[in-house]
Symmetry: C3
Subunit: 461 residues, 3 copies
């Protein structure tokens, strides 16, 4: 990097490789990291600071001046100080008039202040063009160049030219600017980096709870019961056999829970006779995390597939099959093929394969890049039609798997039914309700309601 360039005014035309000087107010960690990166990308950088002594921490090629002097050297000024200290800008209002102020600040909590920091800044310095940017980038990532992901920089601002200038800087640093519109978007942009998978919290907590419940349930039935009554040590079931009972059970229940809110919403709308009243809050929230519920269900289904496919490699299974064969050979008898068993075994496997296949398809269409490329009609077709088909196939898979054991007393240990029987409750209810709802006598008024018709218009007055 050329050492002198930072001292010369950026008068070079835009078309040449010379970049225009950028001013940074504040010499904190993020200000320094951004300055380093900008100097690397060819921008002359000048810092505005209360104390104009060059600190050793500040990038060598940068100049440190007073706020007023620094501001005069550049068209773009990055405000790398915290919101609490923004009022030092008020006396500079005249110098800052017409300048592009880039607000890069973040808050500590979601919705910490009534207005966003960028809007507060725009109010403090009305003559400046405020642009919000860079707040989603980490100082450490900027410095170390490890921007594997999240190269995206959300940019918003009311002045299109100013936004364009900031977006050019973002691109020059090797990042991807995303125009988020006017400064009104600043609030959302400031909240964004504080989130940690907010939509996933409920589905993950729910599945953890259900996993714990079914783990102990299966432990009692499959390990403790045979240990007490038959004195057999099946403790190793904890590794594969029990997870392979929990996973399909959770996959089925969670998949069914994806379709519960839709059915409930239909019932509520039919009962109320209008679509113009809000659903209860819990239903709204449930609706919004259906995609996440479905993906968690898909994760359990995938684990179930893997656990099932390794069955023939398991040492225990090999021992059991070999023992059976040997005992048959010793008895000198040959068992004939049981056609019913062959049918049942092949059917539930086939149903499971098809269900899992459709489930994977649903998962692929929920990838952002895929769902952005389908229109509303196509998305509805996939998520609703294919989704219900998946649920039907998976429920049938479980029913056929259970098959003849449903009524067999041997499958009730300590009066506890098999886990898969419990898992069938929710999907069966959902499928029955959905089946009822597609009858014309209910489907027709529902369609009308969804098109805006109201049964008792006076209610919504």
């Amino acid at each position: 990097m050329n050492k002198n360039s930072s001292n010369t005014m950026a008068l070079a035309p835009n078309t040449s490789n010379k970049r225009e000087t950028v001013c940074i107010f504040g010499t904190g960690d993020f200000g320094r990291a951004l300055g380093h990166k900008m100097i690397q990308s060819g921008y002359p950088v000048v810092y505005g600071s209360r104390s104009t002594q060059t600190s050793s921490l500040i990038p060598k090629d940068a100049e440190v001046l007073s706020h007023a002097e620094a501001a005069q050297k550049a068209a773009v000024i990055i405000i790398a100080v915290q919101r609490q200290h923004y009022n030092f800008l008020t006396p500079l209002a005249e110098i800052l008039h017409g300048k592009v102020l880039v607000d890069i600040s973040n808050n500590l909590k979601i919705n910490q202040y009534p207005d966003s920091n960028a809007e507060y800044l725009a109010q403090l310095v009305p003559g400046a063009k405020v642009v919000k940017a860079f707040n989603t980038v980490s100082a450490w990532a900027l410095q170390s160049g490890t921007l594997d992901a999240s190269r995206q920089v959300f940019v918003c601002g009311n002045d299109i030219e100013a936004k364009q200038m900031v977006m050019d800087i973002v691109r020059a640093l090797g990042l991807t600017p995303l125009d988020q519109g006017s400064l009104l978007a600043a609030r959302e942009i400031e909240n964004y980096p504080l989130q940690l998978f907010p939509m996933w919290k409920f589905p993950i907590l729910l599945s953890l709870g259900l996993t714990a419940f079914f783990f102990f349930y299966c432990l009692i039935r499959d390990v403790i019961y045979p240990y007490i009554y038959e004195n057999k040590d099946f403790s190793f079931f904890i590794a594969i056999s029990i997870p392979n009972r929990i996973c399909p059970v959770l996959a089925l229940i969670l998949l069914a829970l994806v379709y519960v809110p839709g059915v409930l919403a239909a019932i509520i709308q039919l009962y109320r006779g209008t679509k113009y009243r809000r659903f209860p809050d819990w239903l709204d929230k449930w609706m919004l995390c259906r995609k996440q519920l479905g993906l968690v269900a898909l994760a359990f289904a995938s684990l179930h597939v893997l656990y099932t496919l390794v069955i023939p490699i398991r040492s225990f299974v090999r021992w059991r099959i070999s023992s059976q064969t040997i005992s048959q050979a010793q008895k000198n008898e040959t068992e004939p093929l049981n056609i019913t068993n062959a049918w049942l075994s092949d059917s539930y496997l086939a149903l499971g394969i098809l269900g899992f296949f459709l489930f994977i398809l649903l998962g692929i269409t929920s990838l952002p890049s895929v769902s952005n490329n389908v229109n509303w009609r196509e998305f509805r077709f996939v998520q609703s039609k294919l989704g219900y088909l998946t649920l039907v196939l998976c429920t049938a898979h479980t029913l056929v798997y259970g098959g003849k054991w449903f009524l067999s007393p041997s499958s009730y240990r300590w009066y506890l039914p098999n886990a898969y029987m419990l898992s069938l409750i929710v999907p069966c209810i959902v499928l029955v309700l959905k089946f009822v709802l597609i009858f014309p006598c209910l489907d027709k008024p529902l369609t009308q309601i969804r098109q805006g018709w109201e049964r008792n218009p006076q209610y919504s007055e």
Copy 2:
């Protein structure tokens, strides 16, 4: 939501949290749904209607005025009426002068009118700035908030400022605006929501047809034949064995069909000696659905993998293996390891695994977000080089699987060869033709033709 704000003129500056009043012409379902959503997002909404009586269906916080009065209150007017009634706007031309008119209309059929609705609107009210938007969003989804996917709103218009204003509204409603350029794009935007996987129709119909054919073919060979001649009931083969014959056959044929049009195009260009003449229509269409053909082939290949991997869990297979073992044990003989069999079995499995692995890679690179991140050279490398390698591996997998049975008379029941033999026809032809085409004596002129050279320039006159 503040009830009064809808009565005050939207004079608040853009930087404050106050949103500018939006006017909606038309109180139909979509107009009401959009109004609800806008009020929720903080916009004062005023409806323009023929009858100014407030209907109970209209959102409570909205005002209903005559068209002229409503239009004067807002800078942005959403036209939520159908194209047939647009002519009511002609007398309002003076009031609408300089306003932003948002056309949200959809048609019932693709290319229903010679010009797009938005262009028709622009022609009717020449003084207004027409912007096309919102037509891809469903009223039901807007209202219920269930915008899991398709948050994308295509926006187009000739006036950049007007487009910017509409895009800000789109963002404020929690949707993602996509700038599609000038109003010329309106036609495509209006056709978009009417599509239902147009590119997938041919591949899916073709594969359904082939599936039906091969299902009955295998049914005759594998179920009916043994039932008649050996009186064995193999009806349960319908669940897994027959699908596991159909899937690999279809995967191979469809994968080969992906590469047929490229080979045909090369032959046509070589024959014509120019690239400046259009291909026959069917070839153009075939070329455009190659990606979809390949993905359907991948789906069948994935099903084949799943069906194959559950083989050792099948009750029938366990019975057969155990019967064989018992009969050997009873005969007191130990079969030595057949090295040839071990080689054949391991080879076709290994070829299948590698072929499937490359196939999955091809599938991943055809995800929109991945293919957008590779350049043309990289895409050609993956789709052409890796694609042909996949075809070679899968064909080899089938050939080695067939192995020594090709000439065995026992594999011809009722003179019908095995399904996999039929599946080899297309891929073998494609591979032979491609092999011929990479000889320098053909590759060289082909490369020249593709660079613009012509053999008989007078032809294209």
Copy 3:
């Protein structure tokens, strides 16, 4: 296409379906291909050429004029000549004043010239508005319509209006314009189509080298050793058994190598006491290809899973199991279930399944469309926390798989340990170092350094 339209000046307003005339300088292959496509999309096209004789190669509906005449007919002029010949434009400067010049040129080598072609063009014709576009599109793809992928056209330029005009043309041709900012971006855009997976070179070469090494290592141990000492022909191990040893070994080593640079960087920063000094170049490069290393590791892990799941279908494995069963049946003995073996077998399978499952999750989050939808905090959580958990699970999987054989002399043939023992070296070192680094006495100063604190500030002077 209407033949006459190309002769009339483009005076039609933008809102009508008439498109404005586009001028193309140069009648080479790309100029002709682009012209064809534009005429198809409804643009009147006029070519500017030194010789104004209509060549048969030029699209029939286009007109060919002298450069000066052609330029006067259109507002947008596409420069389809090579950079070396740009100086013919200097005498035309007056006519080109205010016109939009579209630079579509590409170079033969990366960074061939000190300035980009577009910037050079802007310097030659200072009065024109230069826009860079179309260079990433292939002429052959344009003509044949086979734009399966890479519909993206990068556009950059200093004049926003000019850029908008070019982006509208791009959209009209059915391509997707991507605004890359000012003309400074032209250099990068010109380098883009010359790349062939630059980030993948090192990971792929490394894995090819390791694959070759481990192939011969396993060949010696598993095929040549038993052939010499036991005279057994296990040559068919080359198809599945040996790949299934190489794949997990490479997956584990490459996964561990993903986390080496992070640990090294932490050690270097702790040693130096500052984050404001650049890492050695090799470490920077290593950091930048971590994602690719991880994905190659995932590919090997997936192959390992497939190879493992087909084990029970292999002819050799069926023969071995059946032989063991028969010999046991003949000895008339029944082996009791070995609980330790059952535990070991189930544990390493379960660990492998969970490790692979998390690995797939990591792979999905590295899809561009997914990683663009998570913020920095979420990305760090997934890639760092889940990544280390994956490494721990996969290392444990290998350790438990090895189990009791570690010290058994039979697993050392020719003093060569099993391949999986070698594969454990790197992951164990990484995990131990990481474990040491999370101790508070090291973690605290490291966190401070990464927040900008310096131990010896004078060093960075």
